[in-house]
Amino acid sequence: MSLDRDTLLDIYTRTMKVARFDEKMRSLLMSGKLATIYYTMRGQELVTSAMMAALNQDDYLVTTYRGQHDQIAKGVPLDLLIAEIAGRATGTCKGKGGSMHITHPATGVMVTTGVVGSGLPIANGLALSSQNRKDGKVTVTCFGDGATNIGAFHEAMNMAQLYKLPVIFLCQNNRYGEHTAFADHTRVDSIVTRAAAYGMKGVKVDGNDAVAMYAAAKEAVDRARAGEGPTLIEAMCYRMMGHFFGADFSYMPPEHIEEMKAEDPLPKLNALMLEHQFTQAELDAIVAKLEAEIEAAVEFAFSSPFPDADEIRKDVFEEEIAA
């Protein structure tokens, strides 16, 4: 299978937006201009871009604390996103959520959870709503390999298949659950084998291969939209840095580091684009435009006000808490 040029360009643009955003965030954190917890997605940019390229804007997404790539690829505006990460009143969540709790229903980002595995049961509820309302929407929930050993994963997989919900479980298998390597937390070779336990369709795919990843995503989306039920996609990728920004990752063996460098999705995607008759100049122009957008977003975020202290009494309930 090959990809048409529009889809490829779409995936490339989403991927590079994520990649340049991540670079910018790391540089802001390094320089001390930004002080917050940040979970870099370096190495996982392409997986999510190919997935989101197969969705409609109003499809639902539930992701996790390592989810900025998912949110950006889904379309959350960078200015609102960065303002939120920087704790500003203009952020997506008025500075009340932060990087681990990004919500932006306007682009379909319904929940970002800081609790491993908790997004899966919620994704079922969004999909159940779509099933009852027949609104044709598909829900995607992203999580890592580490989330597949928590009870919520198993309860949610069973329920999704039982009700044939229009939901896609996208496991971004980055081969580490926090500091623990896959083989040290799971005895089976592949997460995807677990799909069979629930009678669910499961697909294992190289998440760094744009063509294969998009094909897997598209098929799952089409099945869900056609009422054929959920899919578990195990997308193989690498987490190329520590658990959170600044965290040590010397526990990764040197051969693992060599392997992941060789599989870096960014140069691979660039090569694929050139194979498809895009010129490097065209690609560089796209990236330059994205960089300008990111700079403007950072400028917006840092020139925005901090939230008012009164905000702690708002949004607890519909009615404000008395002062």
Partner: protein, 345 residues
């Protein structure tokens, strides 16, 4: 014919309001809400027609009316039930999660505490979670330590949750409608021992507003503040003490959190004495919060320190003799009231 018999003959039963049990009241409220709003759905173990309409029959007849897509019988998966309700609620549906027994809510705490309660706040008000968590419990039927607990204090400590419990069938009907219509998550606690209680049927579209306590009996000497099944005990004790010329005002909170502080404070300001009573373990219970707030706001007006009565500090025991020793007793309630009456500064 006596006068009463004559009246009965002239207007047979027409003037007698129909009686309903708490189970019928809950069923009626959910039925009405489902008829009024397609977004109201019910998820829970055994709730469908195939399973007999729920272990306590609260969803009896609803599958036949609204279909299996709206009455979803679930696997025994409390996290999945709760999460699905959270997700559906985020899209504007009004799901009801039935968790058969309150102790089983503990296996779904993450979805309730980290998600249902917090998503409105953490999203800066972009989303909200209009769901009801229905659950039943109760001490006195020998179910033992894992099927009897009242855990309302756990949830009262979490910003973003409302907690409701009816003491009678009419309130059950009105509170359930209000809970379903609330735009925030509501934990609705039902007491197994109250399911058979009958009230005059308040009729269709009846609502009891959340956050509003009821004066279950007026009095002038002591305010006895309680909720749920212990309201019945409180009323009995009040009747007994009336014979001793102690006038007890019984307040049924109905909404445990956030509670109706205005009504409670006004009552205690009037009586100058207060006893807080609940079935839940006394230590660290909601009674401590209520007593503390009364001491903070009315310290100079109180004629005695606020007394607290609650369950013993152990797991709920099975053997009847132990269970009865565990649960707050009417003699204890009366003694606490007398303590406040006899207090000398």
């Amino acid at each position: 014919m006596s006068e009463a018999e004559t009246l009965e003959a002239v207007a047979p039963r027409a003037k007698k309001p129909k009686q309903i049990t708490m189970v019928q009241a809950l069923n009626a409220a959910i039925d009405e809400a489902m008829a009024a709003d397609e977004g109201v759905i019910l998820l829970g173990e055994d709730v469908g027609a195939k399973q007999g309409g729920g272990v306590f029959k609260v969803s009896s007849g609803l599958t036949e009316k609204y279909g299996e897509h709206r009455i979803r019988a679930t696997p025994i998966s409390e996290q999945a039930i709760m999460g699905a309700c959270v997700g559906a609620a985020l899209t504007g549906m009004r799901p009801i999660a039935e968790i058969m027994l309150m102790n089983f809510v503990t296996v779904a705490m993450d979805q309730i505490v980290n998600h249902a309660a917090k998503l409105r706040f953490m999203s800066g008000g972009q989303t909200n979670v209009p769901m009801v968590i229905r659950t039943t419990t109760g001490v006195g039927v020998g179910f033992g330590g894992q099927h009897s607990d009242m855990l309302e204090a756990w949830f009262a400590h979490v910003p973003g949750l409302k907690i409701v419990t009816p003491s009678n069938a009419a309130d059950a009907r009105g509170l359930m409608r209000s809970a379903i219509e609330c735009n925030d998550p509501v934990i609705f606690i039902e007491n197994i021992l109250c399911y058979g209680l009958k009230s005059d049927d308040p009729g269709t579209d009846y609502r009891v507003p959340l956050g509003q306590a009821a004066i279950a009996r007026e009095g002038s000497d002591v305010s006895l503040i309680t909720y749920g099944r212990t309201v019945l005990d409180a009323l009995e004790v009040a009747e007994t003490l009336a014979a001793e010329s102690v006038s007890v005002e019984v307040i049924d909170l109905r909404t445990i959190a956030p509670f109706d502080e205005a009504t409670v404070t006004a009552s205690v300001r009037k009586t100058g004495r207060a006893v807080v009573l609940h079935e839940a373990v006394r230590a660290y219970g909601t009674g401590a919060e209520i007593a503390s707030r009364l001491h903070e706001s009315l310290f100079n007006e109180l004629k005695a320190p606020v007394q607290r009565i609650g369950g013993a500090f152990s797991a709920v025991p099975m053997a009847s003799v132990l269970e009865q020793a565990w649960i707050p007793k009417k003699e204890e309630i009366a003694a606490a009231i007398r303590t406040t009456m006899d207090w000398k500064r």
